[in-house]
Structures are given as structure tokens and as C-alpha cells.
Symmetry: C2
Subunit: 225 residues, 2 copies
Amino acid sequence: MEKPAAPRAVVFDAYGTLFDVYSVGLLAEQLFPGKGDALAVLWRDKQIEYTRLVSMSGRYKPFWDLTRAGLRFAAERLKLNLTSQAEDRLMNQYRHLSAFPENIEVLRELKSRGIPTAILSNGDPEMLAVAVKSAGFTELLDHVLSVDAVRKYKTDPAAYALAPQALKLSAKQILFVSSNGWDAIGATWHGFTTLWVNRHGLPLERLDTEPTRIGTSLRDVLSFF
Amino acid sequence: MEKPAAPRAVVFDAYGTLFDVYSVGLLAEQLFPGKGDALAVLWRDKQIEYTRLVSMSGRYKPFWDLTRAGLRFAAERLKLNLTSQAEDRLMNQYRHLSAFPENIEVLRELKSRGIPTAILSNGDPEMLAVAVKSAGFTELLDHVLSVDAVRKYKTDPAAYALAPQALKLSAKQILFVSSNGWDAIGATWHGFTTLWVNRHGLPLERLDTEPTRIGTSLRDVLSFF
């Protein structure tokens, strides 16, 4: 069997993949002792659910607004008294999420090999700009692509189409990397070479599709080269 | 203020609204003691998540298949040993969900008043036919509409459009009834008069939209007439 050609560029999902969305759990736990994890998980679930509902219905709203809406729902559902001060602190934390520790060396390695890199994210441009800058990724990424440009969230084909368009490559020539199983599958459906970075040891989504490879950290990106 | 005209027809969501999707929890608890509720909830969440992922991606699969896929994922996620026998029993239970007890009298009352009624559901036609028959609703419904006809799940506009088309009424003239908050909001977005039957006392989804009314049982349908 012929060895498949190495990808010509790498596109990363942002939230969950480069930036640790559950890192807000620490602050959440300070604010709501014993409920921090539950809040972080439900917040994330609702945020993602809302992206899908508005996208399917042709009612796009920016990710920042849906993130806040998800937080408010999650707090109410868990019967937590979310003051506006607590809300602002959590949202501010979300704006400055930690990056996973191995990421910067992987981005540097790709840069040193001359491989173009990009983010393709549900995040809106302002959120992404702050997160990329905070993490020190500015010089390491060639494109920061937000679905805001097409007002459709992943897994809509219009969202994924932004990457081949910006990189002037076919989807197959691009390695799409996500820690969100559904996102890795969505990208596979839309023709990308894919890596699912399964950071939390989750089962594969049962959607009759497998990512090209499954790994456990961003370092597994380098196995494609 | 002028009293709004009464709706000219009533369209019901099926799963969660007419049929109790958590009624599978009892069998799940027998099969997996101490884990039945967790399984029922995660199964339902995954089933719905999968409808959205395939619909957004133009990869429609029938609800029955996604229901089975959701069950398999949920069992694996919870580290339950789902034998094929247990899977078949749970799927068979899903095919014969209990109807909420007040539903039949409400459908009879609408029938006696000559108000056209329909189901508009994510369920595929075969699942719906069995559920409607088991519950004794056959003579009480004028239409049983499945999104399978358009291969798009709610909240896609094409799914909701099936009701005005079948009933030959505008969306506004139709009362759309759902116990799923996101479905009641989706229908509101698409122009229906809506009732959210909030059976579980959940917070309203934070999507800047309110259903026309919020109730607690299907009997609240009759308040519109």
C-alpha cells in the first residue's frame, strides 16, 4: 500500500483543542464550592448546543453571546446564584483560557518545518484574537479563521470550507486537528485528513465515521510528518 | 388589546411531549442497577445531539438508527456492558414508550371540538406508527408528520415547514406544542404559536425567544381555545 502523502498544512480547532475550556472549572469551584465541575461541564454543553440550534435555524449569534447565554442557563439549571460580578469573572476567565502545555512546542516545530498552520474555530474573531495573544501563539499561526465569516457553526459545511479556501489547498491536503470528537468527525465528513486528540479518553462518537487517526495529545500531530 | 384569534390546528412534538422518553429508565435500571437514570439521560442527549450533527452536515440518518447509536455511545461512556440482548430490549422499549397520562383526554377534547391535530416529529415514520398505535392515538390524529420526508431534523426550517404545508394553514395559525424547550423555541422562530409544556420545571433556554405560553401538562393546550 502506498504511504499517503503528508498533509500540506495543519488546521486546529481552538476551544478544547488548543485552549482548555475546563480550566474555568477552578474559578467556578472557588465561586460555587462543590459545583465547579458541574457548572463547567453544563456551561460547555449548553454553549455548544446553542451554536447548533442557532446555526440550524438560520439565527446566528456570535460565540461570545452564546457562551454567556450558556453560562446563565447552566447556573440557573444548577440553582446557583450567579451575580453579575461572578458572571463577569467567569466570562473574563473564558476569554483567557489556559493553553494545553504541549501546544506551543508543537506549533513551533511545525513553524520550523515551514508547514502552514491555522485555527478554524466557532469562536468569534475578538475572542480568538485575545486567546491567541494570551497564549503567545501570534507568530506561530498563519491564519485565525472564525466561522463568524459565514455565520454558520461547525458542523455546517460552510464553516469547514473556510480552511481550504484560506489555505488554497484541498480539504484532503489539510490535517484538521480537534479534541472534540464530533468536530473531528464533522471534518472527516467534509473531506479533511483528521486527528482526534482524545484528551479525556472518551468513546468514539457512534456516527459510522472514524477520524484518520486518534491521539492523546497535540504531539500526535507530528506523527503525520 | 385585541384577543388573539384561537389557533386553527394543534401540532404536537412526539418524543418527550406525547411519549415519555424517560420511561425507558425503569428497564434501564433493571438492567444496570444504580445507572438507569444516567443511561436514560445520556442516551436521550446523544440521540438529540446526533440528529443535529447529521442534519447540519447534510448526512441525514433515520431517527431509529441514531437512537441506537446514542444508546451504544451512552452505554460505552458509562462503562456498561451492553449485550446485544440488553440493547434489543431497550430499543424495543423505546419503540413502545408510555404516553403521558393526560394526553388522550386532551386529544379527545380537540377531536370533539373539530380542531385538526398532527404530530411533527424527528421520529421516522415506522417508529411513529408503532408509538401512535400503541398509545391508542390513531383515530385522534389527522396527520403524523416525520422529518424523514425532508431529511432534516428540527430545528431546521425545512422540518417545521412540513406542518403548515400539510395543514394548509400559516405557521401562526397553528399551535405547536412541545415539552422540549429548544423545540418550542425553534417553532417560535419559525412563526408558530407555541406552547412549551415544561414537565420537568427546567429553566427557559437562553436564546432571547419565549414561547407564546408555558405550561406544565398537555392540558394547557386547551387554554388556547
